[in-house]
Amino acid sequence: MSVLLEAIVAILIVIGGTFLFIGSFGLAKLPDMMRRLHGPTKATTLGIGSLLLASIVYFALLHGVAGIHEILITLFLFLTAPVSAFMISKAYIFRHKDVQHTLPQPGNGSPWVTLDPTGDKARALKSEQQQG
């Protein structure tokens, strides 16, 4: 393995470790829940992507073929990180009355679905009655 490619793998590993640490530091340091959400969802995802890229390059050099496992892990983590952040912020809005007052109105005259889970069913029933 040439020195240049080894250096590329090492630099990718160092970037990955640094960004994983930055994400967790933001989680521990930032003052508010919605601000704390930024660290793990952005910096940690970048860090894990860099580590998986380093792993792809390393095993491609070592065995001559790029593994499918790293690409699967990358795809899965990049797809699921926004979904879990969305679910966590939804749960936070649902549990805090003081945050709910600061939200803008959705614009169609009905409240947010997060705060009114049965509203969707009730509205569907109402429009059905109007049509029928």
């Binding site: 090492a10 967790s24 593994g67 496992h69 983590l77 990180a81």
Partner: protein, 89 residues
Amino acid sequence: MIAAACAFAMIATCLSIILNIYRLIVGPDATDRILALDTMVINAIGFIILAGIFYSTAIYFEAALLFAMVGFVSTVAFCKFLLRGNVIE
């Protein structure tokens, strides 16, 4: 060179997991604790991949893939429980 980089990144990952444990214990709300657990799973995946590079073996990737799936499902299940009081309705 790669071994030194792996050692640096492993130390950074361990410090990250310690910071996550701090947020898991202190965290004023349940959503903070869910977020800390989610981040801890991602850090564990990073550590497993680093171990795979360090020992130059590919057998750790299945463990990392399983961690990714189980971590996501548990995060969504916790949030669903907080939102609806039930996981599967």
